[in-house]
């Protein structure tokens, strides 16, 4: 059974089926959406159960597409993509469940979300450069319409900015892909990885093009400016997908393309890339500290956390000790997954606060913990995870990244300062919103209902599980990192 293809296209087919229905009510739309994303999640579990090999790609599904230029439909998995595929399927299922409250043009919303899921799964599984680019770009269109159609006050502007930034960002990648094709005569990513086709100046140009693309997507300083606006204006499910899934396109691409396909140039530029990672991590933390809007604050912590991922990949290229390289890459990948879980939860929770109070401003709140214990404790747990508390998801990831950094490029350890800043900003947010004197204005707010608990609990459980026993996830990731030939 071509499970990868089925998982990838099931969502969009469900979306088309919904469009074809003569009578599209919000109820039916959400039922289809939950059924489809649920089915996809189960299929990805089956894919996981089939396993991957320790060296290279597994579960390949392939047929010719454009024989004249050696492009084909190729899907496959390794330890880098499989965790991200699982994360994607989970976050989309939870978003579908959470979004079932949307009644305004629900069918269109659901179709866009299902289209996004196809694009996201395809991006992580594609093994053909052209196919990767197609999925990568389709996601933009879906997200543009989602923000523009269902976002908050400034949605049009934010959506436009998002679209222009990321389209401009992704076009250099197209040049790099064409360059890799002209260098090898094929669009097969496995060929590009096994025998990097470009050398010297061409490789460096391709690397710069790719770095530009992925830096915008990650987003890394200084091309991160689209992110806060898009996050703040997007509907809750949009923010979760954007932060949990789509930012990972950038870091995934950084490893899959830049690191693997132009390895020599990447190693040469390693210190510079590392510097961008460090600056992103620090800048993201300090910028988050300056925010009063909860959603914006979390958006900036994404810049910070993705900065650690960039650091991990850069350090992997710089490290001379192969063990350290593996540790750095394991850490970076683990950070991608845990960021999806933790930030996904945080965006859901802020969305829940906003639904109730119609405000995201920290100063408006106070003492919510006594009134909304579920929401409060869930936020506190996620916030502690986000600031890197041992025993929660981010810690094992960041620990590995910093360990490798200390080993390979000790100067970059200054980024650890960001953890202190993050701790400060989360503690401040928790104090302002959940502790202290209760604001009587919010006396009637209800706590999480059943559906909201259903969305948030799995994320919290996984956050703890990854934090306490990261071994199973690292083991899964590790199978490829040794297969990367390093």
């Amino acid at each position: 059974m071509p499970l990868l293809t089925i998982a990838t296209f099931l969502p969009i087919l469900a979306g088309l089926a919904l469009m074809a229905l003569p009578k599209q009510t919000a109820r039916i739309a959400h039922q289809i959406s939950i059924a489809a994303t649920g089915a996809v999640f189960l299929i990805t579990l089956a894919i996981w159960a089939r396993g991957i090999v320790p060296d290279g790609f597994a579960q390949i599904e392939e047929f010719t597409w454009i024989p004249a230029i050696g492009a084909a439909y190729r899907l496959g998995l390794d330890g880098l993509s499989l965790p991200l595929v699982l994360l994607t399927a989970l976050l989309f299922l939870l978003s579908a469940i959470y979004s079932a409250r949307i009644s305004d043009r629900a069918p269109s919303f659901v179709v866009l979300m299902l289209m996004l899921e196809t694009a996201a799964l395809g991006t992580f599984m594609a093994l053909d450069g052209l196919l990767f680019y197609v999925f990568f770009e389709v996601s933009l269109v879906g997200m543009y319409f989602m923000i523009a159609g269902w976002g908050y006050e400034e949605r049009q502007k934010a959506a436009l900015m998002f679209f222009i930034y990321t389209l401009l960002g992704s076009l250099p990648l197209l040049l790099a892909i064409i360059g890799l094709y002209l260098g090898s005569g094929s669009f097969d990513m496995r060929v590009w990885i096994d025998a990097p086709p470009l050398t010297g100046l061409a490789a460096m140009l391709a690397l710069i093009a790719m770095l530009f693309t992925f830096a915008v997507k990650i987003p890394a300083f200084p091309v991160h400016t689209w992110l806060p606006a898009a996050h703040v204006q997007a509907p809750t499910a949009g923010s979760v997908i954007l932060a949990g899934v789509m930012l990972k396109f950038g870091t995934y691409g950084l490893v899959r393309f830049a690191f693997q396909m132009t390895p020599e140039a990447f190693a040469q530029a390693g210190q510079v890339i590392l510097a961008f990672g460090v600056v992103s991590a620090l800048y993201g933390a300090f910028a988050a500290l300056a925010q009063t809007d909860l959603k914006k604050m979390i958006a900036y912590t994404s810049v910070n956390h993705m900065g650690y991922v960039v650091m991990g990949v850069a350090v992997a290229a710089l490290a001379s000790d192969p063990r350290m390289r593996t540790i750095a890459l394991d850490g970076a990948t683990l950070q991608m997954v845990s960021h999806g879980l933790v930030t996904g939860a945080l965006f859901f929770l802020v969305g829940m606060v906003q639904d109730r109070a119609h405000s995201r401003n920290m100063a408006d709140f106070g003492g919510l913990l006594t009134r909304l214990p579920w929401l409060g404790w869930a936020f506190i747990l996620s916030a502690f995870a986000s600031l890197g508390l041992p025993g929660l998801a981010h810690f094992p990831a960041e620990f590995q990244v910093f360990l490798a950094t200390l080993n390979a490029a000790p100067w970059a350890i200054i980024a650890i300062l960001a953890i202190v800043v993050t701790a400060a900003l989360y503690l401040r947010a928790i104090a302002a919103v959940f502790l202290g004197e209760a604001n009587p204005k919010w006396a009637d707010l209800p706590d999480l209902d059943r559906r909201e608990k259903l969305v948030i609990v799995p994320l919290l459980v996984l956050t703890v599980l990854v934090g306490v026993a990261p071994g199973w996830l690292i083991g899964l990731i590790h199978t490829t990192m040794t297969g990367l030939g390093i």
Binding site: I66, A68, G149, I164, L167, L171, L174, G179
Partner: protein
């Protein structure tokens, strides 16, 4: 000789049909005129499949039956049929309706000659045949705007056409032959070939609306009926690029013409989008955007003779361009000519709005739509020919393009206050369905169709 004629079956059939249409128009049987036109175009397309694999010439090398000419027919003939349906939707019941249909078919015959030209004389006939018919089509409404547009088009066309013929004489003098296949002998006679080349660039560049020969395009499109603007913007333009390919592929890559064309390409795409950014008239906006698209397709011409992808790139992009530009113009026919008329259009008419989004995203070059595949091939051709900088400019312009096309998409999904769009007749619905299906589907399938 007889074999020659059988290879020309699609052209001959179309010529006969055009005559028949004029006769039928004399009887003012406009429905009959239309029916003959559509049937002839369909039959001619079918006949093309029989000669598609051929790679030969007829009449002593003056007319080519090759990959370019064959695929050009498969692009231009169905495109013309769609344009006829659009014209029907726009001018049904008006005076002299049938003459528009017959002129369109006649101009398409000229377009086929351009795409198959192997000789200077055939090229000239193609230019004149497409030109004369087009002037009349633009002036068809006979109001002030249309007459002025037609005059502008005519005068500009006459000047550029004459310059081209004048320049071709230099090539004739240098190579001693009117055949393009003999242009290789020009090697060394740089001055003559430069003069000839400049003249051809002027003549065909005018047809293709390349900067700086593009002035007529927005005015002519704006004065003409929308369906005629749609037709001119795709069919005669695509034919001009096929003619470029026929002429230049035989020319030695010396004298700097690839570089000159690359510069024109860069300027054309940039200028087209910049000008489109400030338009409020929808027809003029699309007119300038199609000037920019001409700049893109010229990238394929630049790479001729070096890159194997160059010819497929021109063909694929032309096919995509015909589908998406016709579709966008068809939406303009429904929505109205001003940018405000798109306000809320996507909300009140979700299906039409969706189709417009597909056309515009395809024009921007978003995958997996047909326009993306075309652009991808063009970029590949340019890079393979060593014009990385041109591909980079093309890519930067894609961002300008986004600005241009989002100017249309964004208001479509704002509040639904106005949008008093007219009804969509059967023929226009067919055009929209076919162009949208092509734009959506052929992108993924393009790979299987390629020569």
């Amino acid at each position: 000789m007889l074999n020659d004629l059988s290879l020309l079956a699609p052209e001959l059939l179309l010529a006969a049909a055009a005559m028949l249409m004029i006769v039928a128009e004399m009887a003012r049987a406009s429905r009959l005129v239309l029916a003959i036109g559509i049937l002839a175009l369909a039959a001619s397309t079918m006949l093309t499949f029989a000669v598609l694999k051929a790679d030969t010439t007829v009449f002593g090398g003056t007319y080519r039956i090759d990959t370019i000419a064959g695929w050009a027919k498969l692009i231009l003939l169905p495109g013309t049929a769609l344009a006829l349906l659009m014209a029907r939707a726009e001018i049904a019941g008006r005076d002299r309706e049938g003459s528009v249909y017959s002129l369109i078919v006649l101009v398409t015959l000229g377009a086929l000659m351009l795409s198959g030209a192997g000789d200077m004389m055939v090229l000239v006939i193609g230019v004149v045949l497409t030109g004369l018919g087009s002037f009349a089509l633009v002036a068809y409404p006979r109001d002030d705007a249309a007459t002025e547009a037609g005059m502008k088009y005519l005068v500009f066309g006459a000047v550029t056409g004459s310059v081209m013929i004048y320049g071709l004489t230099f090539w004739f003098g240098g190579s001693g032959s009117t055949l393009f296949s003999e242009l290789g002998q020009l090697s060394g006679q740089t001055l003559l070939s430069i003069a000839g080349l400049i003249a051809v660039i002027v003549g065909l560049g005018y047809k293709a609306s390349l900067v700086p020969f593009h002035f007529w395009a927005p005015d002519a499109y704006d004065g003409a009926p929308v369906s005629v603007a749609a037709y001119l913007s795709v069919i005669t333009k695509a034919a001009a690029f096929f003619a470029f390919a026929q002429v230049l592929r035989d020319l030695p890559r010396e004298g700097g013409w690839p570089l000159a064309l690359a510069l024109i390409s860069a300027v054309t795409m940039t200028y087209g989008y910049l000008a489109a950014l400030v338009q409020t008239n929808l027809v003029r906006l699309i007119a300038y955007s199609s000037v920019a698209q001409s700049g893109y397709i010229l990238m394929g011409v630049v790479a001729l003779g070096v890159s194997l992808v160059a010819t497929p790139a021109i063909l694929v992009f032309a096919a995509a361009y015909v589908a998406m530009n016709l579709g966008a113009f068809a939406i303009v026919m429904v929505a109205g000519r001003s940018l405000e008329s798109l306000q809320g259009f996507g909300r009140t008419r979700p299906w039409l709005g969706g189709a417009m989004v597909v056309f515009l995203l395809s024009l921007t070059g978003i995958p997996p739509l047909f326009g993306f595949v075309g652009k991808l091939y063009l970029f590949m051709a340019a890079i393979e020919a060593g014009y990385l900088w041109l591909a980079v400019i093309g890519i930067l312009n894609s961002v300008l393009a986004l600005g241009v096309y989002l100017r249309m998409v964004v208001p479509m999904y704002r509040s639904a206050d106005s949008a008093a769009a007219g009804p969509v007749g059967l023929s226009l619905a067919a055009v929209l369905a076919l162009t949208a299906a092509a734009t959506l589907g052929l992108g993924a399938l393009a790979g299987f169709l390629l020569p």
